[in-house]
């Protein structure tokens, strides 16, 4: 019964969050200078042409009325039509989702497979007083270099030598630099936190080997923050790795939304942002559940 109430609460708060986001994005889009009509018809269109176009897409109504129509349609699963391609937005997004999903999967897999072991090893090997040295510097660099800088560099270097920039490998590599660095850091800090706990000393006192202690007593105890971070990275990338998809010309959700913003393709931007927000919320609920399963002390509280 309490679990049911908890779920109901989570669902309600998620719905309210989504609603708030939809209001924000709707308002932000309408506040942007330059309209859809200018983009479509060019700078020399007559006022009559503009009015006719606006009427066709209902843009002549008040913003409030537009929002009402849109929300009612979204409630039935209809995200409207792209004003550029005249295709249903839902279908176009669905067609681009696999590209983004594959990119996300590659980057997150790299983050977990490389970042977690790196974090565990550097934490277990850490010397007192030492800040972690080279590893800390490298991972610091990894999380702070912006994707557009690293991505542009990669595109430049690769095309300079006449190589192909198509495919998933390069964009996934650019994204995973950040993901691996962040995961390694979080894992290292979490493991260092567990290492000073009394039960680790107790396990050492029983003569257990380091590998045994890591496997049985550290990994699960340190999993909480790492899971949370992995979920955040996954949600962030699934919502569209905007810059990287755009740079490498990948037809994913991110590049779709970026193009739509430039063209004032309102329905597409609204749907894309709403999708990204929904993914974030769902991932958050999932990770709360997972962390509760991993750490029984938290499972009780939820």
């Amino acid at each position: 019964m309490r679990l049911l109430l908890w779920w109901a609460g989570r669902a309600l708060s998620s719905a309210v969050t989504l609603l708030g986001i939809s209001v924000l994005i709707f308002a932000a889009l309408r506040l942007m200078p330059g309209g859809f009509a200018e983009t479509i018809l060019g700078p020399f269109a007559t006022p009559e042409q503009k009015a006719e176009l606006a009427a066709r897409y209902g843009l002549d109504q008040s913003v409030l009325a537009q929002y009402g129509h849109w929300l009612a349609a979204v409630g039935t699963g209809d995200f409207g039509t792209s004003m550029i391609s005249r295709q249903p937005v839902a279908a176009e997004l669905a067609a681009r989702l696999p590209v983004t999903a594959r990119l996300t999967l590659l980057a997150v897999a790299a983050a977990v497979l490389a970042g977690v072991p790196l974090g565990v090893v550097t934490a277990v090997r850490a010397r007192p007083g030492g800040g972690g040295g080279a590893g800390r510097l490298l991972s610091g660099l990894g999380v702070s270099v912006p994707e557009f800088a690293l991505g542009s560099l990669v595109v430049f270097v690769v095309s300079r030598y006449g190589l192909q920039t198509t495919g998933y490998l390069l964009p996934a590599a650019v994204l995973s630099i950040f993901a691996i660095s962040a995961t390694a850091r979080t894992t290292r800090d979490a493991v260092l936190g567990v290492l000073v706990e009394q039960h680790i000393t107790a396990a050492v006192a029983r003569g257990e080997t380091p590998w045994f202690i890591v496997r049985h007593h550290i990994l699960r105890n340190a999993a909480g923050p790492v899971l949370t971070l992995t979920a955040t990275i996954t949600a962030y990338l699934l919502g569209g790795a905007l810059i990287v998809e755009y740079l490498f010309n990948l037809p994913g959700v991110g590049s779709y939304v970026v193009q739509a913003v430039g063209r004032r393709d309102y329905a597409v931007v609204q749907a894309g942002v709403l999708l990204a927000a929904a993914v974030f919320i769902v991932m958050n609920v999932l990770v709360d559940l997972l962390v509760g399963l991993v750490d029984p002390r938290l499972g009780r509280r939820a």
């Binding site: 107790a202 006192a205 029983r206 003569g207 257990e208 080997t209 699960r220 105890n221 991993v294």
Partner: protein, 315 residues
């Protein structure tokens, strides 16, 4: 005498603070020794040093620890693990924190006992109902139950030496004695020596064969429990015994040890107790006392021989 544990002149620093300033301790096989001292006297550091379990920031500056003749500080990692696994057991102050919070109790015992170990029997030995406790997580247990689990884990391999660092300090008064009963009964059964670190001199004297009193990072007096408690040879022991609540008759004021315990940043130039000692002489401040044999006890006190009969426990 067959000495199981020998600690000689052990000096341990945490950064610039000195925790042990030349501590000596001897424990014979099968004997029980209570190590008594105030907070900060160095008893926890001594306990951890026995298993080479000092925190990373601690540095051993001098001295030696031998368990069964093996020099702990020189052992290679694999040898150290073998010795800890087979010959040493540890029980800590906070029982719930010394169990893995993400693992059920039964599984933790299973990991220690191996596939063929009898988890239920080991829980029954410490007075726990396996059906109820094995499937519980540590945070679902009371402090007393968790400490029994920790004792079962530490005694699983029937070690030769059990180091118990204030195992009952965080427990309710009613369960303290029961938990101690379990520790001493299991140890007696397995022939395990006990080093029990405590701040409660009378409680230690009741259960242990011998007592070692620590002050300022040194063992200032050691000897048979009855002798140390009944006829202290060191002024600090006498003061400690006089300040224990159990020692006082009803209506009589407790006499706290005057002054504060020392905080050392290097070797103490003389006797660390000198500033608080009512019997101090000039040389006590500048000359480190060497062990003196008084009756059945060894005491680190320049005046121990003069003070025979002078020191009495106000009871």
């Amino acid at each position: 005498m067959n000495e199981l544990l020998e600690v000689d002149g052990l000096v341990v620093d945490y950064g610039r603070a000195r925790a042990l300033d030349g501590a000596d301790l001897r424990v014979a096989a099968g004997r029980t020794v209570g190590v008594v001292g105030e907070s900060g006297s160095g008893k926890s550091t001594l306990g951890a040093a026995i298993g080479r379990l000092l925190p990373r920031q601690a540095r051993v500056e001098a001295g030696e620890v031998r368990v069964g003749g093996e020099r702990m500080l020189d052992l290679r990692p694999a040898e150290l693990r073998r010795l800890r696994r087979g010959r040493l057991g540890f029980v800590f102050q906070d029982p719930i924190a010394s169990l893995d919070p993400t693992m059920r109790v039964g599984r933790q015992l299973r990991l220690v006992l191996g596939r063929r170990g009898d988890v239920a029997a080991h829980l029954a030995r410490v007075g726990l109902d396996a059906a109820r406790v094995a499937s519980a997580y540590p945070h679902q247990l009371s402090g007393g139950m968790a400490q029994r689990v920790a004792i079962a884990l530490a005694m699983a391999a029937s070690p030769e030496l059990l180091v118990a660092d204030e195992p009952t300090a965080s427990l309710d008064a009613q369960v303290r004695e029961k938990v101690l009963d379990v520790v001493f009964a299991l140890a007696a059964e397995a022939g395990t020596s006990i080093v029990w670190l405590s701040h409660d001199l009378p409680a230690v004297a009741r259960r242990c064969d011998r007592v070692a009193v620590m002050y300022g990072g040194r063992v200032v007096e050691s000897g048979p429990a009855a002798a140390v408690l009944g006829a202290p040879a060191h002024p600090y022991t006498a003061a400690l015994a006089g300040s224990a609540p159990a020692a006082a008759a009803p209506g009589v004021r407790l006499r706290p040890v005057p002054g504060r315990p020392p905080v050392l940043t290097g070797p103490s130039p003389g006797c660390a107790f000198e500033p608080r000692c009512p019997f101090a002489e000039e040389r006590c401040a500048v000359e480190r006392p060497a062990p003196v044999r008084v009756g059945e006890q060894d005491a680190l006190c320049h005046r121990a021989a003069d003070l025979v009969g002078e020191l009495e426990v106000v009871a």
